[in-house]
C-alpha cells in the first residue's frame, strides 16, 4: 500500500492562497488505508476551506486515482463542477496527482505527501513516476514530477543539456522540463515557473517509525514474517 501523510495545513493554505473556487478529489484506494483519504477526510477539508472563505464546487472520490481511464470516465458527469473551479485539490499519492493533472486542465494541488510505496503500487497503469519523497510539488510543475522526470532532479528549470526536447542523459528520453513547460502552457499557468523552489528536504524520504505503525503497513509486515 502506498503510504501518504497530510501536508501541513499552513503549507496547504499558503499554496491555495490565491484560489477562490476549488474542486476536491480523493483516491478511494491507498489513502483510505493510510487514514489520509475517504469521504470524511474530504468533507472535513471542505469545511476547513470554507472557513477560509473558499467555495468548494464539488467533491469526488474515485476508487483509484492512478488510473487515467477511470478518472476520465468518472469525471464526465461532474465536468460542470470541475470547470467552475479555479483548481483541483487532490488527496492521493504522487501518481494520482500526476494522473489527475494529465486528465484535467487545471492546476492540481497535492493535499498529501507520498512517503513510501510500502510494497505495492496500487492500480497504477500509467507512465507516471513518484519518488515517494514526502516533498510533493506537483502543483508547481504541471503535474509532472521533476524528481523522476529529470535525472538531475532540477527544481527551478531545465539545464542547458537538452537537445530538441530530449535529455542529455538519454536521447530517447524526453527532457522532463520540456514536459513540465508544455503541461503548464496547456493549462495557461506558465507564470507559476517564476517561483523559486528551495531545496528538497531529504530527511523526509525515509518514513518515520510512527508512520510504519499504520494498520495496513503493520498487516503487510505480518505477512512477511
Amino acid at each position: 500500500m502506498i503510504l501518504t501523510e497530510f501536508k501541513p495545513v499552513e503549507e496547504l493554505l499558503e499554496k491555495l492562497k490565491e484560489e477562490k473556487k476549488i474542486f476536491i478529489m480523493g483516491c478511494g484506494g491507498c489513502p483510505e488505508g493510510a487514514d489520509t483519504g475517504g469521504k470524511a477526510v474530504l468533507t472535513d477539508m471542505k469545511g476547513e476551506l470554507e472557513k477560509e472563505e473558499k467555495t468548494i464546487t464539488g467533491i469526488l472520490e474515485i476508487d483509484f486515482l492512478c488510473q487515467k481511464a477511470l478518472i476520465r470516465s468518472r469525471i464526465k458527469p461532474r465536468m460542470d463542477e470541475i470547470k467552475n473551479a479555479d483548481s483541483v485539490l487532490v488527496f492521493s499519492c504522487g501518481l494520482g496527482v500526476q494522473a489527475t493533472s494529465a486528465v484535467i486542465d487545471k492546476v492540481c494541488y497535492p493535499a498529501l505527501n507520498t512517503i513510501t510505496f510500502g510494497g505495492i503500487t496500487g492500480m497504477w497503469q500509467g507512465t507516471e513516476r513518484c519518488d515517494t519523497c514526502g516533498n510533493c510539488i506537483l502543483d508547481y510543475t504541471g503535474g509532472i514530477c521533476p524528481y523522476t522526470a529529470c535525472p538531475k532532479k532540477l527544481e527551478n528549470g531545465a539545464c542547458a543539456g537538452q537537445s530538441n526536447g530530449k535529455c542529455e542523459v538519454d536521447p530517447e528520453r524526453d527532457c522532463g522540463w520540456e514536459l513540465i513547460y508544455n503541461s503548464l502552457k496547456r493549462i495557461g499557468k506558465l507564470d507559476i515557473l517564476n517561483k523559486f523552489i528551495p531545496p528538497r528536504d531529504y530527511s523526509k524520504i525515509l518514513p518515520s517509525a510512527s508512520l510504519r505503525k499504520t494498520r495496513l503497513w503493520a498487516l503487510d509486515e505480518e505477512e512477511i514474517v
Binding site: P151, E155, A158, G161, Q162, S163, G165, V169, N194, F196
Partner: protein, 298 residues
C-alpha cells in the same frame, strides 16, 4: 584588506570596460606545468579566469586548488562550482574554503550528468540546483548556513551564472530566460553564455534579454574553433552549440588552422561586442592564441 577590496574581474566588469574572461581546465593528475604555462599566456589579457569543476564529468585536479594556484600566480580566478559531486554540506564548506583562500568570484552551475564522463558509475548527487546554489551563497553572505546557523564571519563573493542563448525549442528557450531571471533574483551578478558561433543568434538573445529588463552584465561565450572536425563534433554532441556551415567550410578550406581560428574568433568578438559586457573565451589548450584574438580590443 582583501576581504573588502574588489578584485580585477569584478572591478573591470563594474567599470563598464569590455571584459575578457578565459578558462583553464585543471589537469588529470598532479602535474600543473601545463596550466602554469597557459596562465602565463592569459595573465595580461584576461580580467578573470574560470576554473572548470571536473568538466564533462571527468575526474581531474579540483577547481578550488587550481583557483588557489592561479591566485598565487597573480591571476583573478573564477571558481566554477557544480552541483553534481557535492551535497549541500560540502558545497557550503567549499565556498567558505574558497573565501578564506582569497577567492572572490564564483560561477554557479548545475553540472553535466555523471554518465557522460569517465566515471559513469559514479552517483550523481544534484542535491540542489544552480538557482538554489546561488541562494545558498546569498545565505552564507548574510551570515547563515542553510540550517539557519550563524557563521563566525560572513563571506562575500562576486557571483556568476550561465545561460544558453542557443536553446533549440520554445520550452527550452523560455526556460533559459525564466531560469536566468530566477538566478538574478537569487543574486547572480554576471552571466557567461554557452558558446556561440552565430552573432545573429546572440543578437536575438540579447534583444530578448533587454525586453525582459535584464541589466546584469553578460559575457558572450566564444570557443576557439580548432578544426572542422571539432565543429562537426560540437554540432553533433554539444547541446545548444551550433557552428554554421560557412565556418565549417572555412576551416576545411585552410591549411593554416591557427590563423583561421584566430580570424573567426576575432571577428565574432567584434560582432558581439556592441551587445554585451564582455567575452568569455574558451581556448581548450590553445591559450597561447588568445592574446592574438583580443589584441584589437584593448
Amino acid at each position: 584588506m582583501e576581504s573588502i577590496k574588489k578584485l580585477k574581474f569584478e572591478k573591470n566588469l563594474r567599470s563598464g570596460k569590455f571584459a575578457v574572461t578565459c578558462e583553464i581546465g585543471p589537469p588529470k593528475g598532479a602535474g600543473v606545468e601545463e596550466i602554469r604555462e597557459a596562465a602565463g599566456y592569459l595573465k595580461d589579457v584576461a580580467d578573470g579566469i574560470n576554473v572548470t569543476d571536473l568538466q564533462s564529468s571527468v575526474m581531474r585536479l579540483g577547481s578550488l586548488a587550481t583557483c588557489h594556484l592561479l591566485k598565487e600566480w597573480g591571476l583573478d580566478p573564477i571558481f566554477q562550482v557544480t552541483c553534481r559531486d557535492r551535497n549541500r554540506l560540502a558545497l557550503q564548506s567549499d565556498l567558505l574554503s574558497a573565501y578564506v583562500l582569497g577567492i572572490r568570484n564564483v560561477l554557479a552551475l548545475t553540472g553535466d550528468y555523471t554518465t557522460i564522463g569517465d566515471h559513469p558509475q559514479a552517483e550523481p548527487v544534484f542535491d540542489i540546483d544552480s538557482v538554489q546554489l546561488l541562494w545558498v551563497i546569498k545565505n552564507l553572505e548574510e551570515g547563515k548556513d542553510l540550517a539557519g546557523k550563524e557563521l563566525t564571519q560572513k563571506p562575500s563573493f562576486f557571483k556568476g551564472a550561465v545561460v544558453n542563448p542557443g536553446a533549440d525549442t520554445e520550452a527550452s528557450y523560455e526556460l533559459q530566460i525564466i531560469k536566468m531571471k530566477k538566478k538574478i533574483d537569487q543574486g547572480a551578478q554576471f552571466f557567461q553564455t554557452q558558446a556561440i558561433f552565430d552573432a545573429e543568434v546572440f543578437k536575438r538573445f540579447m534583444e530578448r534579454v533587454h525586453k525582459e529588463n535584464i541589466d546584469v552584465p553578460i559575457l558572450a561565450g566564444i570557443i576557439l574553433l580548432k578544426s572542422e572536425k571539432m565543429a562537426n563534433y560540437m554540432n553533433k554532441f554539444i547541446p545548444g552549440v551550433f557552428v554554421p556551415e560557412p565556418l565549417v567550410k572555412k576551416m576545411e578550406g585552410t591549411m593554416d588552422k591557427v590563423s583561421m581560428c584566430i580570424e573567426i574568433a576575432s571577428r565574432l568578438t567584434e560582432e558581439v561586442k556592441p551587445y554585451c559586457a564582455g567575452v568569455h573565451i574558451q581556448a581548450l589548450g590553445w591559450e597561447k592564441h588568445i592574446p592574438a584574438v583580443v589584441k584589437n580590443l584593448k
